[in-house]
Point group: C2
Chain length 175, copies 2
DNA sequence: GAGAAGTGATTAGGGAGCTAACTATTTGGG
DNA sequence: CCCAAATAGTTAGCTCCCTAATCACTTCTC
């Protein structure tokens, strides 16, 4: 393991948070700041690891999520619906579908009801890809959280949900 | 709130996880999978919110982290050191410094000891920018986790650290 | 001490996401 | 009934981060 990997693994410390707060004579709670910063760091690292994971199957996180969403809806959904359920913009869906279509995992069809609309269809090849990767995928996800007992996982879900509600505080108009 | 915003806020459910696992006749634990998926979703949402937050001050998450890291080292550090401590590639540091230099928050100097090396220096303007945003920044971070009691924050830090150790399971060679 | 190997920084190019602007179609109000 | 407003999808152009390749300098080895 190189310095670089070590540093990437090194989580920010409570002392760093304290020092930063004191530098400006503020009264923020260092532990609260640490939780926020650690969660951000963990999210970023997990996101990158996720891309590495999916790249093994010729996918990305976004592409995989789109395929699964499609499979959960009988293999058919409009780009707008996909954008809504994935929580990304329609433009992003266009890009993801472009890539998946190029690989033959998905196909585009014109909508029967709406002349403006389109339908994205999961191909046999796309369904097969999901089948091929399922065992390894879920095994790795399970390994990710294997450091926690079932009870602890329940607690974690609860706490995470409550922090998630606070995300609005970062983007809200008034501090 | 539109459908889109609702969907973005809607966390993946335990039933979705269960359905996915059963579809392939696997034996993975749905709750474990749910924890992994929720954490990824939360990380992605937090990352985006973070960009919105820092954009208010003319920065991005990466640029802010670089400035803080610099400030923590007497305002001077080489690009390689920055890459290591931020956990990003040297190429990324080049890009971040390009942007910060354009805004006058940072300057590049040649290294005295090593003819190949460079030193990134925090300018007065960069230090001022950090000072200007500190109060609001920390207040928002604190608000982010205000849904948790101090005890719960401690528990969360512990659980998060243990999951973070499991991230390697996603990228490891052998499943 | 000169060539080979290693290291620091940058450049080039790619993927994922975004917003804004554009096209085509549908819907709805006068 | 027809024109204006809304909606579906795409395109263009931006940022962030990545890897791989390149250039310049240092260090190590013989």
């Amino acid at each position: 393991m190189s310095d670089e990997a070590d540093a990437a693994n090194a989580a920010p410390s409570l002392d760093q948070a304290r020092r930063q707060i004191e530098r400006y004579g503020l009264s923020a709670d260092p532990q609260s700041v640490l939780v926020a910063v650690r969660l951000m760091a963990a999210g970023a690292r997990l996101g990158q690891a996720s891309e590495v994971h999916f790249a093994r199957f010729g996918l990305s996180t976004g592409r995989y999520r789109l395929l699964v969403d499609l499979e959960d809806h009988q293999g058919e959904k409009s780009p707008s619906q996909l954008a809504a359920s994935l929580g990304v913009s329609r433009a992003t869906v266009t890009g993801l579908v472009d890539g998946l279509e190029r690989d033959g995992l998905v196909a585009r069809r014109a909508s029967a009801e709406d002349g403006r609309g389109a339908v994205v269809v999961l191909t046999a090849r796309g369904a097969q890809r999901l089948r091929d990767m399922a065992a390894e995928h879920f095994a790795r996800l399970q390994a990710l959280v294997s450091g926690l007992t079932p009870d602890e996982r329940g607690v974690f879900l609860d706490l995470l949900a409550r922090i998630t509600q606070g995300i609005g505080a970062l983007t809200a108009e008034t501090p």
